[in-house]
């Protein structure tokens, strides 16, 4: 099965290891991974800030870049949802609406793709450690992917899972919200970090680098002893320990 990876800009520039883990995982599961070079950013930062005109330029670029993809897989629920949203954004645009819909229909978040398309619930991963999981808002509520990541984690050998208190509450990232409304964002992420500490878990896992960068950045600043990992890194772990 040919899979076109939509890596996201955060992964491309900052969390390259998440991209690598995603590629290796998908290959391990028998997929041929392609990386359409024209891809840049899905346009979400501008779109969510109200700059729809600017965002549309980014979106058109993505529609073109992924035009020939069979499946599009993205290690971010939020960015995958953005592709789904294109259909709405271009609904009244005769030139782009059909292409936007086509793109939306073939886009999946990574864990969603594994469970819904590949039909797998056990990826054969093993990981020794106590893990708690942050349910990202866009992935859970907008994309509607609630159980796939938990199902996959459940089948990782050696992994123990502790539920995060208020698990569906936003971490305070919200894209540009994190820099426009920093004092509010700070309170939100502080409560999130506090809840993570309460679980006693050594690892906080999520499926969205935006949220994870926010939580990781705050946890590090506060000196909290928790390692923040993307779910691809756990699912790609075949040894007893996570890869550096």
């Amino acid at each position: 099965m040919k899979v076109s990876l939509f890596a996201t800009c955060l992964v491309d520039m900052f969390q390259t290891n998440v991209g690598k883990a995603t590629v290796e995982l998908l290959e391990h599961l028998g997929c041929e991974v392609l990386f359409p070079k024209g891809q840049i950013c899905c346009g979400q930062p501008a779109y969510n800030s109200g700059y729809v005109k600017e965002a549309k330029e980014a979106m058109k670029n993505m529609i073109t870049a992924f035009n020939d993809a069979e499946y599009i897989v993205c290690p971010s629920g939020s960015c995958a949802y953005m592709f789904r949203e294109y259909e709405k954004v271009f609904a009244d645009d005769a030139q782009w609406s059909a292409r936007a819909k086509k793109l939306a229909d073939k886009t999946y978040e990574l864990t969603q793709f594994i469970v819904e398309v590949l039909g797998m619930t056990d990826v054969g991963a093993s990981f020794n450690g106590n893990v708690t999981y942050h349910m990202s808002c866009h992935m859970t509520r907008l994309l509607g992917v609630k159980s796939a990541p938990l199902t996959l984690l459940d089948n990782v050998k050696g992994l123990t899972y502790t539920e995060l208190p208020n698990k569906t509450t936003c971490c305070g990232f919200g894209g540009t919200f994190s820099v426009k409304m920093t004092p509010i964002s700070e309170q939100m992420v502080d409560e999130k970090v506090q809840h993570i500490i309460e679980t006693g878990a050594a690892y906080l896992v999520g499926a969205d680098e935006g949220c994870l960068m926010n939580i990781r950045g705050r946890a590090e600043r506060l000196g909290a002893h928790v390692q923040v990992l993307h779910i691809a890194e756990i699912l790609n772990s075949r040894k007893a320990e996570v890869r550096a």
Partner: protein
Amino acid sequence: MPMKVGNESFNNRVGEGIQNTFMRSAVSGAQDRLETNRQLATEELGNWEEWRSLGEEIRQHVLANLDYYLTQLSEQVAARGGHVFFAATAEEAQVYIADVANKKQAKKIVKSKSMVTEEIDLNHYLEEHVGCRVIETDLGEYILQLDNDLPSHIVAPALHRKKEQVQESFQHHHQYEGTERPEELTKHARKMLRDDYLTADIGITGCNFAVAETGSVCIVTNEGNADLSTALPKTQITVMGMERLVPTFEELEVLVNMLTRSAVGQKLPSYVTVLSGPRQEGDVDGPEEFHLVIVDNGRSEILGSEFQAILQCIRCGACANICPVYRHVGGHSYGSIYSGPVGAVLSPLLGGYDEYKELPFASTLCGACTDVCPVKIPLHELLHKHRQTIVEKEGRAPVSERFLMSIFGIGSSSSGMYKFGSKVASSVLKPLTKNDQLSKGIGPLKNWTDIREFPAPKKERFRDWFENRQKGDD
């Protein structure tokens, strides 16, 4: 701007909210409890999504036929001997109500909780222009009124007050000598208000829903204060936002149930009171005269606009009870009597962007509000529409931000620009980087690094790794 709360700027209000530790623990405690109750009360139905669809459909049907149903309502109220006044603005409503009060030579008015009367700042107007006392009878509102404070939650107005503060207010205003126990404080209010009900000239209420077919108004309370406010005074004035109506008793039933389950997790509150016109011939209690004031005050501009869905709102407050932003900043930070997500959508529409342009941005668009809304208002989408309007139609975004976003537009649509930018990012940010991390950013990064670490951009981008790996394969 009558609906406005305080004169502080948005940032100052938020700062004050965040510093107010009592308020914050009260709000988070209330949120957790109310949201748990809501979940239990909606899940026990087993088919809550069907209820939500029904609630949405009823509200949309009413809005699509608002001219028809309001006409029918007014005919029915008049047929039962009630007087109906259509107020296009807050001022028209104020003047009409003051006029009625003056004609009745009212000295004392009892009032049950109503958001729309807060919105039109009715109490102050009546005190000034009629010279009468207006007494709020809802316990929470009663407490706030003593100190000229304003509600911070649609359903629990005095959520931000400590019981010790209530005790102090009672001591200060009533020479109260009891303890700070809520039972005792409540008993005191009961005693004080009992006499007011019996001696008031006019009772003023809000309206949870009006019923077009029967010319009725429905008021929902747990305290029973609306019943006493309407059963005893000779004149009743009910003020309603123009969109708050249903076709018949059958839709009333559905929405009242959804309202109370969503607001506090109750199947029904202690009192659901349906009042139709003044007392009927031979009745001994109930008002001799009934006035219904139907308020537009900016709502008709929302009708037929891309924001119309906000008029579906039944004021349950469930969106505030789940909102992570409301949780940390509290109701007063919104600077409006309408707080929480519904307030962030509605306040700019009713009060204008000058006053409320920050509110739509005070959200992570997490969508929790949309999920719990019993009438399926796409709240986070409406917040996003506001953002788009503010940026693109109103041109109110800061210049620096507009500049950044135009760079974004170019950088994210042109492969060459992105390649260049992302490649040099690592070297440009190098001087600020230590141990692969950025602790003191500049420009837009500063706000990030004020509270968090920022990862340094990798020298080898993911796309470079992928390309090199493929080359190796070949």
